[in-house]
Subunit: 201 residues, 3 copies
């Protein structure tokens, strides 16, 4: 589980950066940016924990998540110009992050004895609700509802993970395959300009 924990912390840093950068674009002050980075990073996992009744919610018992958020915050201010130039890397990190958050969310729900549909939903919530809260707090229509195959990538990757968990005994491999799956879907969808809009009229 060690490398998963490491990736989870790493994902928290990435989500924190994404929140802080959004806040900086909106001219939020130093504390406002910190709050946005914070809720972006822990929002999804927090809502998942609350819904399944896991109290106190995860990050309250592990300082490392707070340090990860703080690290993302500092990185954002110090390397702002460079990060924006690193759009491609950020996209990659972000994609790995949501893939991982999806599988961690599903696994947490499985451990709490949730039924399979709920586990899948918890995976998606873990991955996308941090970004939704970020967009709501900055008064934007959440990006994921309109622009990219984002939640759908989580949904499909989550489905792959659940199937793998029932047929394959090596969890680490299942997680890696699921993350690759999420990444592949997002990568190709952005490249090909896929959308999921269906306008019948």
């Amino acid at each position: 589980m060690d490398w998963i924990y490491f990736l989870d912390i790493f994902g928290t840093v990435v989500f924190s950066i994404s929140g802080v950068l959004t806040a900086m674009n909106k001219k939020f002050d130093l504390v406002g940016s910190l709050i946005i980075g914070f809720v972006t990073a822990i929002g999804g996992g927090t809502i998942r924990d609350i819904l399944i009744g896991r109290f106190p919610v995860g990050w309250l018992n592990d300082r490392n998540y707070l340090y990860a958020i703080l690290a993302g915050y500092i990185i954002s201010y110090v390397f702002k110009a460079r990060i924006i130039g690193l759009k491609r890397s950020m996209f990659l990190f972000d994609t790995v992050g949501i893939g991982l958050f999806t599988t961690i969310g599903i696994q947490t729900a499985i451990n709490f004895g949730m039924n399979i549909e709920v586990c899948l939903i918890m995976g998606v919530i873990s991955a996308v609700f941090g970004g939704i809260i970020r967009d709501v707090l900055t008064n934007e229509i959440p990006l994921i509802f309109r622009k990219e195959i984002y939640a759908s990538a989580c949904l499909l990757g989550g489905l792959v993970y659940i199937i793998l968990e029932t047929i394959s005994p090596v969890r680490d491999v299942n997680i890696i395959v699921s993350i690759l799956c999420v990444s592949a879907i997002r990568f190709f969808s952005v490249r090909q300009g896929w959308t999921l809009r269906w306008d019948r009229d």
Copy 2:
């Protein structure tokens, strides 16, 4: 209790449709619409359950709510044009839905030993917060704050239900009367253009 459960599921379908249609109007993609339908349908009950400490929250233990949401989602896409023509029916369904959600919310709070004021508040929260979350996520000022006697109908209907529960032993009748009460208030308020604005200056 059987017909109440049936109505509850039915109300979930209606709320899901209302969410999905709102999302479609905003040009959300297929997954975005599903998420909006989902939070509209289960948002109010979820907040109620969290506040009173009922974990895991209701819908996590009953797949039928998920199927109801999915049904509302599919209905929205397949019958989009017709549903919009059915504005009158939708208004009726919606009104029965909030009336029912109000009484179910109150009853749940009573079962958890809440005081009477809190029960009333939980009834209103169950009925209206799904719609509030829908409007927040689609970046609208929640409709219920401005346009119609909506929350007030729930408040009054809830009050009627609480009074009936203390004087009448037949719960089914109490629920029906309360729903009729909510429906009547909304119906007449819309027809007569009642508002609850109070501008002193």
Copy 3:
């Protein structure tokens, strides 16, 4: 503890007024204003209680909070014109309110055995999230992210409180000093036009 409880209720009235006035400015109806006053007053403490797993959340077991909200609601409508003229007093009340909410939030988290960083975060959440929810529901970018040293005052005042709690045995004094600290920071920041923006480019 008696005077603290009294101040807590008083702070609830002040926050309720702030919410109702915001709603009135947005032309919300009577029930909409009540809902906004309600969530502004209990929002921060509710989120804190949920995160640390304190159920049912605080105000569900104490009617006085509800009466305080109702009092703020009635005061807002009856004395609307005068309250707006009392901007200076409202600012003072509000500042004392957030200072107090910060210390109460920290103390609650300490009682629940949270680590020191989490206690500090819970103090800030208790003080500022009511206002954040108010602004989200009225479709505004939360003020605290942009305009004033607000959350930062809570953060610093909270830090002072935590330090005092470890070195001074008289809690009442610690609370008063912390509140004075928050008030002083806010007062001078507004007077001097301090901001916490950092634009490197």
